[in-house]
């Protein structure tokens, strides 16, 4: 670790500078050109949107940069849909040839099993691609996790989470986040996650009781707990993240955003996204002294297959 023993801890701030009007403009252009090109432009539009979001995000006085291209996204999507299409096509062919009601459940189970098996692939692929196309101060991020290793961690944890109706969620996070963090790097500096599931468990129990009683309002407070749990245990290059997101803040943000969406019939979406990013990043810091000249470039190759798969499976990853 490159922390200098003598220097006192510094607080590096995050900030989001984007304004809703510019973001709305980008959405308008994307929608128009996507409609004209029967959706093909949407991959390039997505790049424009990401580029805007990244370049409006500042950390320690410098903006992030996004390096992906529309063609990459299109190719990833095409490859993933070709594979999925082939498998599902074969499956329905089987369904017709078999034509035996007793064993029909097998052909219905295959797509479901496919989604369960492909989710780790899509998540790992998305992380690999997304991080490899992100840079700050000229240094790329990377994710070096492997699908099989991740699946071994993810699948049992996800199943337990579903079986326990979400009560396992803190332990789910405490199992998958160390794997993700340890395989994520900024240049040659790996991230680390040291949270324990039990630190969040009492809050989860409380939320399970209070959320229905408060008509869902307590969900904002629980969300704040989760957010702080995730960030406060995350570290990189000897410095630790710190989130000061509060339940009251998230509640005010969530309710006003919901109202904005309803009143404008969804047109306020870009403003809502901007408000969310502004709030969350204004409450995020990295505490600790880091000698940036010690962080070396370690770029990594990554394809878009997983990203395309995530797109088709409709996975929303908060990356």
């Amino acid at each position: 670790m490159s922390r200098k023993v003598q220097s006192r801890p510094l607080t590096h701030r995050f900030a989001f500078h984007g304004d809703g009007a510019s973001f709305f403009g980008i959405h308008l252009v994307t929608m128009f050109l996507s409609a004209l090109t029967l959706g093909i432009y949407s991959f390039w539009g997505r790049v424009k949107i990401r580029r805007f979001l990244y370049s409006q995000t500042e950390f320690a006085g410098e903006r992030f940069a996004y390096h992906g291209t529309g063609m990459e996204l299109l190719k990833g999507w095409a490859r993933a849909s070709f594979l999925l299409g082939a498998v599902l096509g074969l499956n329905s062919l089987l369904f017709f040839l078999w034509d035996d009601p007793a064993s029909a459940w097998i052909t219905q189970l295959i797509p479901l099993a496919l989604v369960v098996m492909l989710a780790p692939l899509a998540i790992v692929g998305t992380l690999r691609y997304r991080f490899s196309r992100t840079s700050w101060q000229g240094i790329r991020f990377s994710f070096r996790g492997r699908v099989l290793d991740f699946a071994k961690v993810f699948v049992p944890a996800a199943v337990l989470n579903v079986v326990t109706l979400g009560l396992y969620f803190p332990f789910f996070l405490a199992r998958i986040l160390p794997y993700i963090a340890e395989n994520t790097a900024y240049g040659n500096e790996r991230f680390a996650f040291a949270g324990k599931g039990r630190d969040l468990f009492s809050q989860t129990l409380l939320a399970a009781i209070l959320t229905p009683l408060t008509l869902g309002l307590y969900g904002f407070w629980y969300q704040a707990h989760v957010e702080r749990f995730v960030w406060d245990h995350m570290a990189v290059a000897g410095a630790r993240f710190r989130s000061t997101v509060s339940g009251g803040g998230l509640c005010a943000l969530g309710l006003t955003n919901g109202l904005l969406m309803i009143v404008t019939l969804g047109l306020a979406y870009p403003w809502v996204k901007v408000r969310e990013a502004r709030y969350k990043l204004a409450h995020l810091t990295l505490v600790g002294s880091v000698d940036w000249s010690q962080v070396r470039q370690e770029a990594q190759q990554a394809g878009t297959f997983g990203e395309g798969m995530a797109d088709i499976l409709d996975l929303e990853l908060g990356v």
């Binding site: 500078h17 252009v29 903006r63 000229g138 070396r296 470039q297 409709d314």
Partner: protein
Amino acid sequence: MQVTRASWTARYFDGQTARRQEVSLRITPGGLHFRCEDGSDHVWGFGELRQTQGRHRGEPIRLERGLEALVIAEPEFLAALAKHRRGSGIRGAQGAPKQTAIALASALGLVGLGISLYVWGIPTFVNAAAARVPVAWEDKLGAAVTAKIAPLETRNADPEANAALAAMVARLAGDAPSPYHYRVAIVEQPTVNALAAPGGHILLYRGLIARAQSPEELAGVLAHEMAHVERRHSTQAVFRELSFSAVLAALTGDARAMGQILDLAGDLGALRYNREAEREADRDGMYRIQAAAIDPRGMVRFFKELQERESGFLDVGALSTHPPTRERLAAAEALARDWQAASRETRPVLTQAQWQALKRPPTAEP
């Protein structure tokens, strides 16, 4: 305004480490010239660099060359750069004002695209698609729709009433060749309504039957619904609903919206026709009645009833999407007059016993 600055302050990232270096940048005819803290000189030819940021208000200008990057905070730098190298030589170079113009043009384009889709794109597609759908497919769709709107337990199961209804349908169908096999059900609900689902599935509501004073009136309504089936109006309505949601999903790029609206397609809301379709069904229905030698004054009487009802209540159920009753009444009266002028023969639609069976509410069953 003359932009002549000797040098610009920039931050340089060498792409090897995350170190930030403050450099003094000069624009020379040969390219961008700057010196690093270690004293090394760098020249970036205009053709090698690419602008990736600085398109939006407040966003610093970012120039990249491979893994290296230069970040300049002052927006005036772009103008100075353009002066030296005509700007266009740099890949991706673009200022902020153009963005607003492009966004505005896109908004206008979207509105234009939306209107043209709504006015002719979707109707053209819908009519073409609905005309090519096999009857078997329509039949499946219609069965699913009517099963959802009126489950079996809400339907009249009295064999006499259903036999009477079948006789009326057979009379109206006549000898004319039709790909459709009609299945008409009586729904035991007080609504004054009738509807035609794709493929020949028709629902007549008790409220409507109770209101009809003669079998000829009911035959008029049934002939109208059969015309909807023959002209595939409800199949078109389902396609219309689907294409709207498909366009919406394509615009928002959200595949989930599609699934949600697909469910909607099976609902009653999808079975709405425009006024032109209603006029067609009125006209075809009237011809059908004449072809079956049924007294067309029944239909006229029914429209009169409707008009009286409309003057008293605002709510006429699903019939409110129909053209103004006065207009339909006038059209029906004109047709009836022509027909009377030709003094054609008529035969009753149902026997008195059949009509009584049809009118009898299910509670009165033995």
